[in-house]
Point group: C2
Chain length 317, copies 2
C-alpha cells in the first residue's frame, strides 16, 4: 500500500495549500507533521477487498485525513495542549482565533475532497461523521470533571471522538469499491470496534507513557478532568473510604493543584493493574472486530485488515 499512501500524501499536500504567506507555512507544517495516516490506510484496505478505484479512494482517503487533522486542531485549541505528536501545537504558536479559522479551512478542504469523489454516499458519510465527531467532543467537554459516570457514557463519547472516523474510513472504502451492502456494514462494524480499541489504548498510553514516547506529558486526561476507562476501572477497585478515591475525585474535579499529588495518583493507577484490565477490554474489541471480517472472501485483504486491528492494540505511541 506504500505507493498508494504516497499518492494520498501528495493529495493532502495539494489540498492543504493556502495562498496566504504566514498561514501557508503553518498549515503545511501541521499537515505534514503527519501522524501515521491510519485512517487513509484503513480506507484503502477496505477498498482493496473490492473494486480498487484508486483515484476515488485516494481522494476520499485524503479527505478523511484532513478531517482528522482539522478536528485535532480544534481539539488542541480546546484542550490548550502545548504539544501534539511531539511538536508544539498550532495554538501554542499563534492566536487562537486564527487556529479556529485554519481548522475551518481544513474542514472545507476535506469536504471538497469528499465532494470530489462525486459519490453522494461518501459525502453523506463524511457529513454525518463530522457530526458524530462534534457530538463526541461536546460530550467529552460536558461530561468532564464528573467521576461518577457509566461505561456506556464513556463508550458513546469515544465512539464519536475516535471510532466514528475509523468507521467512516472503512465504509467509504467499501462504498467506493462497490462492495455489497452487507459487506459495507461488516467493514463499518469492523472499523468501529477497531476504533474503540484504538481509543482505549490511547487512554491507557496517556497514563502509562511519559513525554518521551507520546510527545506530551503523562496523565493529560486526568489533569483535564476527562474520565477514561482506566480511571473508571481504578475508581471501581477502590473500597469506599479509600483516600485514593477522594484524591482521584479531587483531580478529576480540577480541585487538585499539586503536581506531586497528581504524579502519585498516576503511579497508583499504574501499579493497580487497571491498565492491563483496560488493555484486555481493547483486546476484546479487536476480537469482535475480526469476527466481522468473515464476509470478506479475499484472504489477502482480510489478513491486512487483521494486521491493522492488531496494530491498533499493540501500539506504544
Amino acid at each position: 500500500m506504500g505507493a498508494d499512501l504516497e499518492r494520498v500524501e501528495a493529495r493532502i499536500e495539494v489540498a492543504a495549500t493556502i495562498d496566504l504567506p504566514f498561514v501557508s507555512a503553518l498549515v503545511a507544517d501541521l499537515v505534514q507533521a503527519g501522524g501515521k495516516r491510519l485512517r487513509p490506510l484503513l480506507l484503502l484496505l477496505a477498498g482493496r477487498a473490492y473494486m480498487y478505484d484508486l483515484d476515488r479512494l485516494v481522494t476520499a482517503a485524503a479527505g478523511v485525513e484532513l478531517l482528522h487533522t482539522a478536528s485535532l486542531i480544534h481539539d488542541d485549541n480546546i484542550d490548550r495542549s502545548a504539544l501534539r505528536r511531539g511538536r508544539p501545537t498550532l495554538n501554542s504558536k499563534i492566536d487562537s482565533s486564527a487556529v479556529i479559522l485554519i481548522g475551518d479551512y481544513l474542514f472545507a478542504q476535506s469536504a471538497m475532497l469528499a465532494a470530489a469523489t462525486e459519490n453522494t454516499r461518501v459525502v453523506a458519510i463524511f457529513a454525518s461523521t463530522l457530526s458524530d465527531i462534534c457530538d463526541g467532543q461536546l460530550r467529552e467537554m460536558f461530561d468532564a470533571h464528573q467521576l461518577d459516570q457509566g461505561r456506556a457514557q464513556y463508550e458513546r463519547r469515544i465512539y464519536g471522538k475516535t471510532a466514528s472516523l475509523f468507521a467512516a474510513a472503512a465504509e467509504m472504502g467499501a462504498v467506493i469499491g462497490q462492495a455489497p451492502p452487507a459487506h459495507v456494514r461488516s467493514l463499518r462494524a469492523f472499523a468501529t470496534d477497531v476504533g474503540m480499541a484504538f481509543q482505549i489504548i490511547d487512554d491507557v498510553l496517556d497514563l502509562r507513557e511519559g513525554s518521551d514516547t507520546l510527545g506530551k506529558p503523562a496523565g493529560q486526561d486526568l489533569r483535564q478532568g476527562t474520565v477514561t476507562l482506566p480511571s473508571m476501572l481504578f475508581a471501581e477497585t477502590l473500597p469506599q473510604g479509600d483516600p485514593r478515591r477522594a484524591c482521584l475525585d479531587r483531580v478529576i474535579s480540577g480541585d487538585e493543584d499539586s503536581e506531586k499529588v497528581i504524579d502519585e495518583l498516576i503511579a497508583a493507577v499504574r501499579s493497580s493493574g487497571v491498565l492491563d484490565t483496560a488493555t484486555n477490554v481493547a483486546a476484546d474489541f479487536v476480537v469482535r472486530a475480526k469476527n466481522h471480517l468473515n464476509v470478506i472472501s479475499d484472504a489477502g485483504s482480510r489478513e491486512l485488515l487483521e494486521q491493522f486491528a492488531d496494530a491498533a492494540l499493540s501500539r506504544t505511541s
Copy 2:
C-alpha cells in the same frame, strides 16, 4: 415565498436539534434568533425561475443558512463580539471551547443537509464556499491593522466573507432547478454582485448606525482594526499631514485607547460624505447584478430577484 421559507425554518429547527441538555437550548436560541433568512430566500428565488423541486430547494436552503450561522458563531468568537442581532452572542454566554464545537456541529449539520440533496454539484458548491468563507475570514484577520491596502484586497476579502455564500445560494437554486449552464453562471454572477453590495452596506451601517439599530455598538470595524471601504475612502479624502489621518492610522493599528477620540473619528467619517460615496459603489454593484438577470425569461422571478437586490442596498440594519 412565505410558506416555503417556513418550510426552510422547520428544516433548520430539526437539523439544529442536539441531544445534549445544556447545549441544545443554546443552539436552538441561536439558530432561531434568526436574522432575515436572506440566503435561503435567494436560493428559493433562483430555483423558482426553473424547475421548482421544492423539497431539495428547502433542504439546500436550510443548509446554506446553517452554514451562515456556523460561520457567524466562529466569527463572533474571533471578534469577541458581545452582541449580535441585539442578543448576547454565544461566546459571551459560555466558554469559548464549547463555542468552537457548537460552530463545528452546525457546520456538520449544514454539510448533512447539502449531502441530503443527493446532488454532487450542490455538495461541491457547498464545500468550495466553506473554503471561500474561511479564506475571506483569514484575510480579514491577517489584513487587519494595516491602513494601507488596495481596493482589490478589500473586495477579495468581502467576496470570501459574504458574497461567496450569496453566490452559492443562487447557484445551488439554479442547479437544483436544472437551469441551463449559462443561466447558472448568470445567477451566480448576479448573487455575487448583490453580496458585494450587501457587505459594503454592512460596512457603511457599521459606521452610520448606533446600537439601537444594529444591535451592536457603532464603529466596530474601526475598533477591531478592520479596514473597510468607508475607512479607505476617508483616508483618500485626507491630505497628507492631516491630523485625522494619523488618528485613523492609530485607531486601525489598535494604538488608540480613548473612546472619545474614536467617537470623534467616527463623527468625522460620517460628516465627510464617504458613507454616501461607499453607498454609491454598492449601488453600482446592484446595477451590474441586475444586468445578469437578462437571461431569465420568467418576468415574475426576474422581478423578485431585482427586488432582492434593491433590498440589499436600501436596508438600514
